[in-house]
């Protein structure tokens, strides 16, 4: 009667423990090796595909370094690195002066690649690539353009027969660097937008429905006839989505591509400040695509752990020489050469 009585909990726990032990046996070996250094980073999800490729390749070249990157979002990256909870952060939205001051240690902005945001739409029966003027883009999200056959859209697309259907604007409900890049652009081109809404990773959208992630926005636009949305270029290319042309500051209709994004960065290269915090929205130049941005790594000037600082320094040098070459193949634009050259000095100061 007494036997096995207390076995209730132990049985369950030993199952659990056994499970745990088994796994730690498997994994115990690397843990026991003191030579392995793990560097934790967090932030923007937009460059995650290329970051995961870089960190994997770098890890293969340097088996004693593991760089663990988690795409929790730009805001999360800024917050975690400012609190010193991760070793480096990443963001599509440069930190403000106030944020830099609040950080527990000085942080450097290291631009890595450039990305673009493109307008996507679902117009049944229309295969032409639609042109969107800055006024049309702002009007759709301000709620002043509500039908597809609005003059502001029709006028730029001669020969396309638009239906008299309501537009369903779709936006990112989760705070996102993509939203920042898009609203930063709208703020620059539309005074009404600047006054009424502004730029941020999440804003108060006058109209539309919110969907989570690029996935959610693209899925909604693909599924719902007459929907309109904005997604990252990488995402649109990868999923073979048709996206619209946008008129740049020089009056040219530009289709987004890594080359058109690099053109924007080159046109702006002289005005990039020493700390690399710059907005490329509506950049000058005839070949520039206007809705694009750098994405940055946020690296402590001096890491609390000197070994980590040295490893970050080595990684960044590798990224500038080797990593950048892989960007274009994945739909990102590599850094323009002058920016990369200047960046080497900044990287050299990392301890």
């Amino acid at each position: 009667m007494v036997r096995g009585v207390r076995s209730v909990v132990p049985i369950l726990l030993s199952c659990a423990l056994l499970n745990g032990c088994k796994s730690s046996q498997q994994t115990g070996a690397p843990a026991a090796d003191p030579g392995i250094l793990t560097i934790n980073g967090a932030g923007a999800s937009f460059p995650n595909p290329i970051y995961s490729k870089w960190f994997a390749e770098y890890g293969r070249l340097h088996p004693n370094v593991r760089i663990n990157y988690q795409p929790i979002g730009s805001g999360g990256g800024i917050r975690q690195v400012s609190l010193g909870i991760v070793d480096f952060g990443a963001s599509d939205d440069p930190m403000t002066d106030a944020q830099l001051q609040q950080s527990s240690h000085p942080l450097l902005h290291i631009p890595t690649v450039l990305g673009a945001v493109v307008p996507v739409y679902n117009l049944p029966g229309i295969s032409a690539e639609i042109r969107f003027s800055p006024e049309a883009l702002a009007g759709i999200y301000l709620g002043t353009i509500t039908f597809w056959d609005d003059q502001k859209i029709v006028a730029d697309n001669p020969g396309v027969k638009f239906p008299h259907e309501e537009i369903l604007p779709v936006y990112r409900s989760d705070g996102s660097g993509t939203t920042f890049i898009f609203t930063d652009y709208l703020t620059k081109v539309s005074p009404v937008w600047a006054k009424q809404v502004g730029n941020s990773t999440s804003v108060k959208w006058p109209v539309g429905i919110g969907q989570k992630g690029n996935e959610g926005v693209a899925g909604m636009v693909r599924e719902a006839p007459y929907a309109f949305g904005y997604v990252e270029l990488v995402y649109a290319l990868q999923n073979h989505m048709t996206f619209g042309l946008v008129r740049n500051g020089a009056g040219q209709w530009i289709k987004a591509s890594p080359a058109a994004v690099t053109a924007a960065a080159e046109a702006q290269a002289d005005t990039i400040p020493a700390d690399f915090r710059v907005s490329l929205a509506n950049a000058g130049g005839t070949a520039s695509y206007p809705i694009c941005s750098f994405t940055w790594l946020l690296v402590p000037q001096q890491s609390a752990d000197a070994t980590k600082g040295r490893q970050l320094h080595d990684f960044l040098l590798w990224m500038l020489s080797e990593g950048e070459q892989e960007a274009a193949a994945m739909g990102y634009a590599p850094l323009p050469r002058p920016v990369a050259e200047r960046l080497k000095n900044t990287v050299a100061s990392i301890r």
Binding site: M1, V2, G4, V5, R6, S7, V8, V9, I11, L12, L13, A16, L17, N19, G20, S23, S24, Q26, T27, P30, A31, I36, T38, N40, A42, S45, N48, P49, S52, K53, F55, A56, E57, R66, N68, Y69, Q70, P71, I72, L83, G84, I85, V86, K212, G213, N214, E215, G216, E232, V234, Y235, Q238, N239, M330
Partner: protein, 289 residues
């Protein structure tokens, strides 16, 4: 009042009866249909995506074949083991207090109510709380923080089931033991708990099944990791977290892995639910409350 059944009245009653039968059957069909739709969809997507590499390989960057979620499966195992280790003893202890010592006292009622409140705390709120209470002071994400967050979510279910199950133990059995001069603590541990053990195990399995699929509390505690788990004090990979990251990514290959992960997770949960049912003959929901 004398009442003479008229033909019309009988007709109306029979019509109501038929209508009721039709409605009851219809609602059953309406409930079962979405379940089938969901299961079939998931099986289809998941089975198409599963392969051996999924269980044996680490995640790989886009474009490299053979990536898997082996470290996430192990990571989830470690987090859930830790959560069970911390949450189950506390839950059972609290359940024992409530039934064997608390009775109808005010304190016991207050604890029951608090346990219900804790049970109702949305998992996303638990995520914020665990992050603020453990991660920020420790200055790093960890498997430990994730284990604690999930352990807290397991406690109320285990507590209430333990209390309920102890209530099914006939008092005569306890009195007999006490009458033999066995101290109360041994009576509880050796007599009450033993008799109630199948039900209590059920409760533990239910609590386990409920937290196994949780994502929100892990986001800011476990944090995720591309490598094998090495220590409880480091960020650790977890299955729901990896599914979430891959699901919102721009690559078909990663979506495929997300579906495979979802299938593995659901099979894990369903196996434990089914085990509970087969072993104890009790269901998932009537065990929990």
């Amino acid at each position: 009042m004398p009442h003479r059944p008229s033909r019309a009245n009988v007709g109306r009653r029979q019509a109501a009866n038929h209508l009721f039968s039709v409605l009851a059957i219809l609602s059953t069909v309406l409930v079962i249909a979405p379940l089938f739709a969901i299961l079939v969809y998931l099986l289809f997507q998941g089975v198409r995506s599963l392969n051996v590499a999924f269980f044996t390989h680490l995640p790989r960057p886009v474009g490299e074949p053979g990536g898997g979620m082996a470290n996430s499966i192990v990571g989830s195992g470690i987090i859930l083991a830790l959560a069970s280790l911390l949450g189950i003893p506390v839950g059972i202890g609290a359940g024992i207090y409530l039934y064997e010592f608390g009775g109808g006292k005010t304190l016991a009622n207050a604890i029951r109510f608090t346990a219900d409140v804790l049970n109702g705390v949305p998992s996303i709120v638990m995520g914020i709380a665990a992050y603020s209470l453990i991660v920020v002071p420790q200055k790093h994400f960890s498997a430990f923080a994730a284990g604690v967050a999930l352990a807290i979510m397991m406690v109320p279910t285990v507590t209430r089931t333990t209390e309920e199950m102890l209530a099914t133990v006939p008092n005569a059995v306890r009195e007999a033991a006490l009458g033999l001069g066995i101290p109360k603590w041994r009576t509880v541990m050796t007599v009450s708990l033993k008799t109630a053990s199948p039900g209590i195990i059920t409760g533990c399995m239910l609590a386990f099944a409920r937290v196994a699929g949780e994502t929100a509390p892990l986001l800011f505690t476990a944090f995720g990791n591309q490598f094998w788990p090495a220590s409880l004090n480091e960020p650790i990979a977890a299955l729901p977290l990896q599914i979430f990251v891959y699901a919102v990514s721009p690559y078909d290959e990663w979506h495929r892995l997300a579906w495979a992960g979802a299938l593995v997770l659901i099979v894990l949960i369903m196996v434990s639910v089914t085990l509970v049912r087969v072993v104890t003959g009790r269901g998932m929901l009537n065990g929990g409350h």
